[in-house]
Structures are given as C-alpha cells and as structure tokens.
C-alpha cells in the first residue's frame, strides 16, 4: 500500500456541499503534491469552497484566475519560477467547464508550448458552481438545468484532445480510488513538461443521488466501464487494475444510471449511445496498450 501522508492541506470548514468529490479529490492531490505547491484555480466550485476573503481553507498558495485563463496563467507562473531556479509544483485545478469548454484554447496552447505544470480537470460533467448547466463534458441523456429533457449530444472526448498534444504523462483517476489518484499525482509531478490528470468527480446535487454515496458512485462508474482508469506515460498506455477487471466483465450500465436522478427517464437510445461510447473508448485504450494503433 502506498503510504499517504497524514498532513492535511485542506483545512476544516470548506463551504463544499456534503459528499463533494471536488474537496475529496483536492485533499489527495495536495497530500501527493506537498507544501511546495501553488494551485491555479479558474472559476469553478473550488473558487467558492476554499472560503471567503480574508480566510482560506487551503494551506498552499491558491491563485484564483478568470475562467478561460488557468493554463496560460500557470504557464507564465512556471516559466517565472523555473527561471528563478525554483522547483515549486504548479497545478491547475479546474472543473470540466473551465477545461473542455472555455479553457480549452489556453490548455491547448500551454501544452503545445511544453509548459511545465500539472493540469487536473475534476469533472462532475456539468457547470456545478452555477447550478448544473450542461457542459461539453455532460454525457448524452443527462438532465441538467439547460438540458431539462436530457442532453442530446455525446460528451466531448477531452482525453483524446489532450492526447493529441502528446504530453509526457496523462492519466484518468477518480476520488473513489484515492491510492490510485495519489500515485498518479506523484508521478505527474515527477515528470517535467505539461502533464494531465482527468478526475471523475461525482456530484450529489448535480447527479441527484444521496450525499453519502459519492464514493460508491465513483466505483459504479468504473465497474460499469463508464469511467476507465488508465495512464499514458511517454506514449505507453496502461489500463489500471480496477478498470482492467471492469472492461472484461462490466456490471450492467443500469446499475450506474439508476441511482442518479439526472438519468431518470433516459431513453433506450441514449443508454445504447452511452454504452457504445464507453466500449469504443475501452477498445481504443486496449488496442493502444497492446501496441496496435
């Protein structure tokens, strides 16, 4: 077992919702990163849950910045720190809206320039901070406040977009698997250049399930194959243990969808589309892992 330090960088009294995966994820991210870290946070739930000026519940410097600006801000920050001979880890911690939608240009630019920072997208599959509007990451069939009858389009394949930039390290993770998340953050920060971790962040008010079930929801996402834990290190793909088993023998997708209010009344066509997209992603990763691509 990886030894996760007992030191806490997320202090008590954040204003996160009960059962929030964002704060749970950030807790493990910072345990892995340690104190010599700066977080760059665009508009997202984390802008709010860290506390109100002059207080903060995060015990590393947090630079809050405009919605579309996180990756560019981090690239300037890491350039300045490296030029000054400092090894401080720079981590963008951004939601899915700030990553797949409004922030994608800055992300793409910074990755193409090989800026030295870790970009973490914690993905609750909608604009949570503003009250659950659809984002480019919202899956087909999911109800949000701007898709009251269920989203008609499939989610954007963020990982494929990031992969097209050929970063030295890219991974997916989920707060329901903290050991895995911890190890991936450690590894990403040990590699120079733009690195990326995409974290599934189940969201009780957004996905409409009881707040005690966030970890369970993350596990169901992985077991159903809807979320695949993998890493791509210098081009080499490894599908991680829990997903390896899940791809071989996934639980029925309905077991993941049924507890979530956002999928209530989802059409059979949308369920089939979800299944097909998950299978395609799994096949692609498996082929890549075997070196056939």
């Amino acid at each position: 077992m990886t030894q996760i330090p007992s030191e806490e960088f997320i202090l008590k009294c954040t204003s996160a919702c009960a059962g929030c995966s964002d704060s749970l994820t950030l807790r493990y991210v910072l345990k892995a990163a340690g104190p010599d870290t700066v977080l760059v946070v665009p508009a997202c739930c984390t802008s709010v849950i860290q506390g109100i000026f002059p207080h903060t519940a995060v015990n590393v410097p947090v630079y809050n910045v405009a919605f579309a600006a996180a990756a560019a801000c981090a690239s300037g920050m890491s350039a300045a720190l490296r030029a000054a001979g400092k090894k401080t880890s720079v981590i963008v911690y951004a939601g899915d809206g700030g990553t797949v939608d409004i922030g994608i240009q800055a992300l793409s630019g910074a990755f193409e320039r090989r800026a030295d920072f870790l970009y973490i997208c914690y993905d609750n599959e909608a604009y949570g901070n503003t009250g659950m509007q659809r984002s480019g990451s919202t899956p087909i069939g999911a109800r949000t406040t701007t898709t009251p009858a269920g989203k008609l389009q499939a989610r954007k394949d963020l990982d494929a977009i990031v992969a097209a930039h050929d970063p030295p390290y890219q991974a997916s993770a989920c707060a329901a698997f903290p050991q895995d998340l911890f190890k991936k953050v450690k590894k990403a920060l040990s590699i120079r250049g733009p690195t990326f971790i995409h974290v599934l962040a189940p969201c009780p008010p957004g996905w409409r399930y009881p707040s005690g079930k966030s970890v369970e929801m993350g596990r169901l996402a992985v077991r159903s194959g809807m979320w695949i834990l993998y890493e791509r290190e210098f081009g080499k793909v490894t599908i991680n243990g829990p997903s390896r088993a899940a791809i071989m023998k996934p639980i029925p997708l309905e077991e993941y969808l049924a507890p979530q209010g956002r999928f209530r009344g989802i059409s059979q066509e949308a369920v089939a589309a979800l299944r097909a997209q998950a299978d395609r992603t799994a096949k692609k990763l498996q082929a890549e892992e075997k070196g056939i691509c």
């Binding site: 000026f53 910045v65 600006a69 560019a72 801000c73 300037g76 350039a79 300045a80």
Partner: protein
C-alpha cells in the same frame, strides 16, 4: 548610443534595458515588430528572459499575471483587437495589483478591418485601473517605456502601466533614438504580495461587498498616489538622462488665447500648426496630453479650446472633449479626426482653430469644414 529606429524598435530596446524576466506576447499588426525584436533579443542572448509565445492575447496577459505574481518583472505588447481580446485579464492585472508594463500600438477596431491609428482601443480600457500614457516620438516611446517600469513597480503604485503609441504614424516611423543605460533608474522589483509557498495565502478568493469595496478604493488611492511617483520619475529621468517630460507637453501656451488639446502624434502635428497660427497673428498654443490615467489638470481658464479626438464614444462624444468639459468646465470645439488612420495635417489643424465654434462638434471630412 545614437541610432535611428522605429517606434516599435524603440519600445523593444527600452524593454531590453529594463530586463523583464518574462515576456508573453501574441502578434498583431502594427505591434508585431516589438515582439519580434524582443524574441530576437532573447534568442541571441542579448536578453536573459523567458519569452512565451502564447496562443492568444487573453493568454498573453494571463501568462504575465501568473509570472508577475511570483514577483518578477513582466512585459507584453498588443494593439486594437488584441487589447480587447485580453480585456478581461487587463482588468484582472490591475485588480491583482501587478505592475505589468504593456505597450499598446493604437489601432482602429473592426469592422471593417482597419490597421491604422485610432485611440478608441485604449480608451475602452480606461476604467480598468491601468495607468495610461501616450507618446508622440520615437525617443519619447523609449524614455516612457523605461519610466513605466519604475512607476508601475513603485510601492505606492503597484498598478500596471500601458504605454500607447500611434499605429504606423509612430510604430513604423524612423526617427533618431538615443539609448541609455538605465542603471539604478529602475530599482529591482519587489512585490510585497508575491506568492510564497512558505507563507500560503489565497489570492483573488471570493470577496464580500465590504472588502471588495475597500479593495477598489485602494486601487483609486494608488492611482492618486501615482501622481507624485510619476512626477518623481520625470524629474529623475531629466536629471539622469537630460530629457524632460510632464503630464502634459505644453507648447507656446503661456499667452495663448486658444489652446489645441490632442494626444499622440496629433499633438506633435498641432505644434507645427501653432507655429503657423502664430505667424498669422493668432495666439495659439498646444497641450498634448501624455498621461491620460491618472487624468491631468489642464489650465484652460479664459481660453478657447479646440479638442481633437482620434476616438469616439458613440452616443456621448469625443472622449477628450468630454473629459475637458467634466474636469475643467471647458466648452471645447470638439473635432473628431483621424479615425481609422484618416490623414490629418497641420494645415487641417490650422483650419480647426481658425474656424472653431466653441461648444460644437465637428466630424472632420464629413461635416463641411476648412
């Protein structure tokens, strides 16, 4: 060292002398020569800086913000649409109290596409908390860029500074340039609120109305405190390098009955017009506004005023003319001229003065004139 340079090259040379640690920039006509020249300095080793060739102006300012908050000197340059594309971050830089210096080569806004001089681009950023200065010669572009770093980084200011030069009319005009060794004219940068992992803090966190209000007042207080800092920079510059500057460049105003107020290259053109008018027996003078934020005091009492605006606020008027009404209770003859690079000669300015109608507005070349 005496050379001949364009306005753009002069800005780049001043930036080299100021030694910023990080430059993040995106190309746009007519500014591009500045960032090309800086890239060349960095590539050849003439400048020990990080040059970040960002994918947009929004990212240019965001990268400068990220670098500046670590406590290092930063610079960027832009123009027109680029400036407006970074508008959100222009606000952020000032609110975050970061002494970033930016050159803006003034250019009109589309549509239609127009790459020539106009001040409307920078005026759309006038309420952001940036100090704004407008220059009129290559030498002034160089000198003012050096001063901008000293002023922005002063502990009483800690606000960003925008140095404005007219597209093509100055950016691409060759004039003599005397470069200097800045030495201690720009002291090492010290940012009291620089990020330090040994002393964690939240930056730009959610801020309630009471605290937000106080932070805004603090920006205005620093804007007011910048006045003596700018004056001191002018004085120190004159002492060290022998060239004098003010908030205004006043020309033959002592006994003037009529004063032309303009900015940038039009302000220099107006000086030639003043000489011609004096030859005709009209006691004219010219006040070229250099510092637009903080806005200066102009002694216009008892004089006719001809305000030339290379800008317009639709539904309101020429920004300079309206500013003079508000701050000096002047009733200027408001001439809107030079938009989108429209040619305005000193003969034209002579005409504006001769035919002035205080309190009225004239669109040069559209309204019957001269």
């Amino acid at each position: 060292m005496l050379t001949v340079a364009t306005g753009n090259k002069a800005v780049a040379a001043a930036v080299k002398e100021a030694r910023p640690a990080v430059i993040a920039a995106y190309p746009i006509t007519p500014q591009t020569e500045i960032v090309e020249q800086i890239a060349e300095y960095v590539s050849s080793g003439a400048m020990a800086a990080q040059y970040i060739p960002v994918e947009s102006e929004h990212s240019a300012m965001a990268a400068c913000i990220g670098a500046s908050i670590t406590g290092v000197r930063t610079f960027t340059a832009t123009s027109s649409h680029g400036l407006l594309y970074m508008h959100e971050m222009v606000n952020w830089a000032a609110g975050a109290r970061l002494p970033i210096v930016m050159a803006n080569v003034n250019r009109a806004l589309g549509p239609g596409w127009n790459i020539w001089a106009e001040h409307t681009d920078a005026f759309q950023e006038r309420d952001t908390g940036w100090l704004q200065v407008y220059v009129s010669t290559v030498q002034e572009a160089y000198d003012t860029t050096l001063m901008a770093f000293r002023i922005a980084e002063h502990e009483d200011v800690l606000l960003p500074v925008m140095v404005n030069l007219d597209g093509f009319l100055l950016s691409h005009s060759m004039q003599p340039l005397l470069e200097v060794e800045a030495g201690d004219f720009i002291p090492p940068m010290h940012l009291p609120h620089a990020i330090d992992p040994a002393s964690p803090a939240g930056y730009g966190t959610l801020t309630g109305p009471e605290d937000y209000f106080r932070l805004r007042w603090d920006m205005e207080r620093s804007m007011r405190d910048s006045v003596p800092v700018i004056r001191d920079a002018h004085d120190a510059f004159a002492r060290q390098f022998g060239r004098s500057y003010g908030f205004l460049d006043e020309y033959r105003c002592e006994d003037a009955d009529v004063v032309v107020v303009a900015m940038g290259t039009l302000g220099m053109e107006a000086q030639v017009a003043v000489d011609q008018l004096r030859n005709e027996g009209i006691k004219a003078g010219c006040m070229r506004i250099r510092w637009f934020r903080p806005f200066p005091h102009l002694d216009l009492k008892g004089r006719d005023v001809v305000a030339i605006d290379r800008d317009y606020s639709f539904g309101f008027g020429g920004v300079i003319a309206r500013s003079l009404q508000a701050t000096e209770r002047a009733e200027p003859y408001s001439v809107i001229a030079g938009l989108g690079g429209q040619e305005v000669t000193y003969d034209d300015i002579v005409g504006f003065v001769r035919e002035r109608k205080p309190g009225e507005e004239c669109w040069f070349g559209v309204d019957a004139h001269v």
